[in-house]
């Protein structure tokens, strides 16, 4: 009992977990299982044949290899940016700028990289994937880094360790939980990256994701798609389990500090890290600036067109209406994801602190991550064959769009929040409990202030992901409620100079909306939850 008085009881934690898990069961597990079962419908022979083909396994190999390479590049590029965000004063703008790539439609980024690297191929795929995902690493790791107590590092330096040594043996281990979280998310995003792989890889470099799409949508080969979905699912589970095991060995309590205590001007060798960080930011900004410049190719014609529906009415909404739709849908999705993500994180942390077997905690954790690793096409087609069984036939409802986006955003909230919650020093909580605070009071006084900043960061990030979400949205959205990314994709797919100019103007508008919203959320933290 003594143990339980310090926190929520495991039973309460399980009740918390039931909400996100229930959501996951209805809007993810059930549709995916149904569509895979349909593939098995005509007997397992078709599925087994695909599994027996060498080409299938080459596909698996290439998918994992390009995802691993993209993750490595994103982590290496993201770390110096994380340093900037965490330790260098005046990096608020950088924090916002790194988010911008995330909202850009893949077709636009794909075309930009194709123009940069005309031969496309693996290098272009890896760089484009990393371009999208540097923000995940920079913001997740930066969020924790900002609160890592500087004194341990200073002590190591005082004892004669070089700056590099102090980083690798003191700072890096402290960052490992966030690094692991970020790497897992980036890996899943890259493994299921669709638009850029299709555009830059063509028919030569195919992944499980593009092949599932082609088999489901163009070839109408459901047994083949089911086989590949199964392989994709197992590969994702495998990677997540490896990640969870690695995290289990590393996660430890840190003494977290307020950021005001840890920020200072870089000194000596730290300028190298800061310089690298700025270099990465410049590399991220170059394609963005190119897009903005391109949007002015026809003067302001593209921007004027945003008030209309494109050349000869290519769209059913105006560009500005699409922007409003984007904001509305992303707000719904983010609010829903925050509720689900916070419930899940609190449940996972509580279960982790209780006597529940670590395996159970990891299983729940892994399950929550799965939507990031499974094809949007599989889920989308799964909705068609399942959701009519629910009252109200959600299959053709506009409400399905924020629900599907929340599926993608929730794991991001969990991954941002969880490392910070887990790093809260248990002694702080024990001290609070000893001083007479009940379980809720301990959360309110200890965990919430420490994690508040991460929660806001994850809200901003989730919002941006929802704003830019294309795969599931383009499949589910209705033309009169089309979002900006969907509108851009549609404009690019039509002839006519005005449509093209409008597409790039819409990209700029989307980036503008992103920056404004990220800035608003950043500002919230000043008035909202305080730090220490």
């Amino acid at each position: 009992m003594a143990q339980h008085r310090r926190g929520l009881r495991p039973a309460a934690a399980l009740a918390f977990a039931a909400v996100p898990l229930g959501f996951l069961a209805v809007f993810f597990a059930w549709p995916v299982a149904a569509i895979v079962r349909l593939g098995f419908g005509s007997g397992a022979a078709g599925v087994l044949r695909v599994l027996g083909e060498g080409a299938t396994w080459r596909l698996v190999g290439f998918t994992l290899a390009q995802a691993a390479a993209s993750t490595a590049v994103a982590v290496l590029a993201g770390l110096p940016v994380a340093f900037l965000l965490a330790r260098v004063p005046g990096s608020a703008l950088v924090r916002v700028a790194v988010l911008v790539p995330f909202v850009l439609p893949t077709v636009v980024v794909g075309l930009a990289f194709k123009a940069l690297l005309p031969d496309g191929g693996v290098v272009a795929i890896v760089l484009a994937n990393a371009f999208f995902n540097v923000a995940v690493v920079a913001r997740t790791v930066g969020g924790l880094w900002a609160h890592v107590d500087r004194r341990a590092e200073d002590a190591a330096r005082a004892l004669g360790a070089s700056r590099w040594r102090a980083f690798t043996s003191v700072t890096l281990p402290a960052l490992t939980p966030a690094l692991g979280s970020a790497a897992a998310v980036v890996f899943l995003f890259c493994a299921t990256s669709f638009g850029v792989v299709l555009l830059l890889g063509g028919a030569r470099h195919r992944t499980l994701e593009t092949e599932i799409y082609l088999r489901t949508v163009e070839l109408l080969d459901l047994p083949g798609a089911a086989a590949l979905s199964l392989v994709q699912f197992l590969a994702v589970v495998g990677v997540l389990v490896v990640g969870a095991v690695a995290r289990r060995r590393r996660e430890n309590a840190l003494s977290l500090r307020g950021q005001a205590e840890t920020v200072r001007r870089p000194r000596g060798g730290e300028w190298v890290a800061a310089g690298l960080g700025y270099a990465v930011v410049v590399l991220l900004v170059v394609p963005i600036v190119t897009l903005v410049v391109r949007s002015f190719a026809g003067g302001t014609a593209g921007y004027e067109a945003l008030a209309g529906t494109g050349f000869r009415g290519s769209l059913q909404v105006t560009g500005l209406e699409a922007a409003l739709n984007s904001v509305r849908v992303a707000t719904d999705a983010t609010l829903l994801a925050l509720v689900l993500g916070v419930l899940a994180s609190v449940a996972l942390v509580t279960l982790g602190r209780s006597r529940v077997r670590p395996g159970v905690v990891e299983a729940v954790d892994t399950a929550l991550m799965l939507p990031l690793g499974v094809s949007a096409v599989t889920v989308g087609f799964g909705y068609l064959v399942t959701l009519d069984a629910l009252p109200g036939d959600l299959r053709t409802s506009a409400a399905l769009v924020p629900l599907a986006q929340a599926l993608v955003v929730t794991p991001l909230v969990v991954r941002t929040l969880l490392p910070v919650l887990r790093s809260v020093d248990e002694r702080l909580r024990q001290a609070a409990a000893t001083l007479g605070a009940g379980p809720w009071r301990v959360w309110r006084e200890v965990d919430v202030p420490l994690a508040g900043r991460s929660l806001l960061a994850s809200a901003a990030f989730g919002y941006v992901v929802a704003l830019g979400e294309f795969g599931a949205t383009s499949f589910l959205v209705r033309p009169d409620t089309a979002t900006l990314p969907v509108v851009i994709g549609r404009l690019v797919a039509r002839p006519g100079e005005l449509n093209n100019q409008m597409a790039y103007a819409a990209c700029t508008l989307l980036m503008g909306v992103t920056v404004v919203i990220a800035l608003l959320v950043e500002r919230l933290r000043v008035r909202g939850v305080g730090e220490f």
Partner: protein
């Protein structure tokens, strides 16, 4: 209000009943593809006259649309579908997606494109995939035929879409199959490859980035696009800057049909009649870049000059396409190498 949507949806999931259906619902759900578009005034007039509300549900391209209809045939997501084309028609018919309905409008032109005698699918529009050229960049020496494209004079000038990932890419491949026959098409592609043809994965890249005649001002003056594309590349003098090669066209026909198990079949039939009616057919060039299936419907002025309907495009029977497409794509891949 809008923020409540997810909560309401969750409430629905949880089994609460929210609201109820109106007793007499004359809504017809039109399941269609991303490119569907209609002139609002024309639609308003139809709705006011009949009391029917048309609710379009767009979802993906013709392939995605067909597959969705197949997957939901036991409990269809709409009443009438538009946009299944001749490359996917056989599949939809074999799966029993469509109900029989012969529209009184069907013998005013659409019957020319009938898939079979069953009357389950009626042609609404035709859109030809043709090679497009940028005459200025070619110095006036414009190719005319399939054979010209393999001429060393046009080395490294031609860009096509991958038939495995692109619908115009597939149509162009089918056009070469129809023109050269089962024996000759692979050899022709071998010659195109030797002549430096470039393959990209989608129309967006081919047309807006590689093609010199579009706003992207790319390096290649010959591209696979649509017969209608030049009408969108009209200069300040009112003349088209690009042209379609009318001897290289493959005809894509888009069909509509009433869905089996439609909740509102009688009104669905009226919507199908509307899609074939003169007021709607008149708008399809401007709205969807395709040609009306109905006879005697005047094309817009910009089209008569820049984008006339090809007179003798290649075609293949829908059943052959359904049976052979995967093999053709694989053989194409081994010839051209993707």
């Amino acid at each position: 209000m809008r923020r409540l949507v997810p909560l309401v949806a969750l409430a629905v999931v949880a089994g609460c009943s929210v609201g109820g259906e109106a007793p007499v619902d004359r809504t017809v759900v039109l399941v269609t593809h991303d490119s569907f578009d209609v002139d609002q005034a024309v639609l308003d007039e139809f709705e006011a006259r009949t009391g029917i509300t048309v609710a379009p549900r767009k979802s993906g391209d013709a392939g995605a649309l067909t597959n969705q209809l197949v997957l939901t045939k036991a409990n269809p997501i709409g009443d009438v579908a538009f946009g299944v084309d001749n490359t996917f028609a056989s599949r939809a018919l074999d799966e029993g997606v469509f109900a029989e309905y012969r529209s009184p409008e069907a013998d005013k032109g659409p019957q020319r494109y009938a898939v079979d005698g069953s009357g389950r699918l009626t042609a609404v529009d035709v859109g030809d995939v043709c090679v497009n050229v940028d005459p200025a960049a070619l110095g006036g020496e414009v190719p005319k035929t399939f054979e010209d494209l393999a001429d060393p004079k046009y080395k490294d000038k031609f860009v096509v879409e991958d038939p495995a990932t692109s619908s115009p890419g597939l149509a162009f491949l089918l056009g070469t199959v129809a023109h050269y026959g089962e024996q000759g098409w692979a050899d022709y592609w071998g010659r195109l490859k030797a002549n430096g043809v470039k393959v990209v994965s989608g129309w967006e890249e081919a047309y807006t980035q590689e093609f010199s005649g579009s706003s992207g001002k790319g390096p290649r003056p010959i591209v696979v696009s649509y017969a209608s594309s030049p009408s969108a590349e009209v200069g300040e003098d009112g003349k088209a800057r690009t042209a379609a090669l009318l001897d290289t066209c493959f005809r894509q026909v888009e069909y509509a049909g009433v869905l089996n198990g439609a909740k509102n079949p009688e009104d669905a039939k009226k919507v199908l009649d509307f899609l074939l009616s003169e007021p709607f057919q008149k708008t399809v060039p401007e709205k969807m870049y395709v040609y009306p299936a109905r006879e005697g419907v005047a094309l817009p002025d910009a089209w008569t000059a820049a984008a006339p309907l090809p007179e003798q495009p290649a075609t293949l029977p829908a059943a052959d396409i359904a049976a052979q497409r995967q093999r053709w794509i694989e053989q194409w891949r081994s010839t051209v190498g993707g």
